[in-house]
């Protein structure tokens, strides 16, 4: 019996080999698709769940068993969110502060990043770079109280412009490091040619070099925007008055506020995620380039 089976198997070796090869490859493909699906499900489930919660009516959120798809979709949580709080104002504040801070950091880092990439002495370059890296490893909340006490004395805390300047400062070092690695890709000969053509150095920088690194600048901008939009603790400490709150500060205040349900909070979370999700969707390619070009903060 055993012998016959053995013989029948060895009769068509190439056929047998092909079957094994095919099934192994098929198993790999199935496994790969399964794992990809698993990662996708794990990534999307929390987002799905918070969106579904935000679209459920007040009572349906707290029903048992849990409903994975609401019986009736409603926007009442969103309406309530904008009614009970100045969420429109918080949103505007966040947009304003994040946009201006990111633009400010971008502009400053065009100068400093370019300069950092052009120092001929390696020593000079390394020491400036180290100073920049240093600011990246210190915890944000270490600068929080000194800034607050200092600014409160000057009457400058609880001020959107102040927050914007601080955010710009927090983004400058990273933007400079990232910027210098992009500027380093542009050969010096490109500017030298421009200088011979009669440009001064600033003109050469902005008219010749900057247009060559636009994707890198997009990465820097998107990165700063996401980080400033998401910043919580510094804003909580500095922004006390209602009309100056940013979105994360408002969400933080909801937690302790009585009468704010998970429905309203979910709606607030979903609205708070939209801008960074849009930026990520649009600039994903550039962000990935930026992250992998020697970035420090993730």
């Amino acid at each position: 019996m055993n012998k016959i089976t053995h013989n029948s198997l060895t009769l068509k070796p190439e056929c047998d080999g092909r079957t094994v090869f095919f099934s192994k490859k098929a198993a790999f493909t199935v496994m790969r698709i399964f794992l990809l699906a698993l990662f996708l499900a794990a990534a999307l489930l929390p987002l799905y769940w918070i969106i579904v919660t935000s679209l459920k009516g007040g009572r349906e959120i707290y029903t048992y068993p849990i409903r994975y798809w609401p019986k009736s979709l409603t926007f009442e949580n969103y309406a309530y969110l904008f009614k009970i709080s100045n969420f429109k104002v918080y949103f505007r504040n966040s947009v304003l502060v994040s946009l201006l801070a990111s633009l400010g950091a971008l502009l400053i880092s065009m100068l400093s990043g370019y300069a950092l990439s052009r120092f001929r002495a390696k020593r000079t370059r390394i020491s400036f770079l180290l100073a920049m890296y240093f600011t990246q490893i210190i915890p944000t909340y270490m600068i929080m109280t000194p800034l607050y006490t200092f600014l409160a004395k000057l009457g400058l805390s609880d001020n959107l412009l102040t927050l914007m300047v601080i955010y710009t400062g927090m983004m400058v070092a990273f933007s400079t490091i990232m910027g210098s690695s992009f500027f380093a890709l542009v050969p010096v000969s490109v500017e030298e040619a421009a200088l011979i053509d009669g440009c001064n150095r600033i003109q050469a920088l902005f008219q010749i070099v900057v247009p060559l690194v636009l994707p890198g600048l997009a990465a820097i901008f998107s990165f700063s925007f996401v980080n400033t939009w998401n910043e919580l603790f510094l804003a909580v400490m500095l922004m006390n008055s209602d009309q100056n709150m940013t979105v994360p500060v408002a969400l933080n205040s909801f937690i302790s506020k009585a009468g704010v349900s998970w429905g309203v909070l979910s709606a607030g979370i979903v609205v708070s995620l939209l801008p960074t999700l849009i930026v990520f969707a649009v600039a994903q390619k550039y962000i990935v380039i930026g992250l992998t070009e020697g970035a420090v903060k993730g």
């Binding site: 707290y62 068993p65 200092f150 400058v172 919580l232």
Partner: protein, 297 residues
Amino acid sequence: MRDKNTGFLIALMLPAFLLLGLVIFFPIIKGSIIAFQNYNLNNDLSMVHFNGLENFKAIVTDTNFKFWQIIVNTLIWIYVSLFFQFVLGLILALLLRQPFRGRGIYSGLVFYPWALSGFAIGLIWAWMFNGQFGIVNDLLMKLHLIHQNIGFLSDPKYAMMSVIIANIWYGVPFFAIMLLAGLQSIPKELFEVAEIDGANSVKKLFFVTLPYIKATIVSTILLRTIWIMNFPEIIYAMTGGGPGNATNILATQMINKLMKFYDYGQGSAVGVMIMVILFFFATVYLKVSEAKEEGIA
């Protein structure tokens, strides 16, 4: 000529350094001084004076928030998160290495958590882990893995695991992005040679792929160590460091000292401790990247 060039470049760096001085360097110095003062908003601030190492002593001997537990929590928080972020990130990167139709959209959909705030992620996962209406409890019940709801965030046995799961979820995309970039830099010829030598997929992974991206792996892990240590948002939103002291790490201890107890002196003392530890890591990181540049690592 050369001096003129250097002078011009330094002038270009001035705005950046002025701002950094104002927003980062000056506050760091001031914060380090506060760490040695009895700076507490509950007390009369005109009585603020230097008190030597009192703040550090108070933190280390605190009976409500035991210091040794905070240190152990910090290490668990960092290394358990890192381990799973790395392993899952590597698997995801390997899955994404070969092109397939819709890969761009797919990676957007799995990488998006990178763009979210730690605070929002903490809130979302707090809701998912809710002891009564949480989706995690419901799914585990449906799979018959548990028979009654678990208070994931209120039970000290489960709280650390829960915040770490949220952190892993957040960190996998970053690792996948970095490792994928590393994988794509491997020359195809290396795999062809390995195949001729008869290596199978597992052997190729351990003898070609991983050694080639070793430098990327080491530097990413070191950078993430620093970053995760500095990252209290998820814990702050989910448990606030509780129940009791169960999920308290150095960073949340500092946040609580500053924002709950208004004890700026003790809070800054924790900050100084964190900075000292991070300098150690940064030095190791620099040594490693130097080695990387010289092609040793």
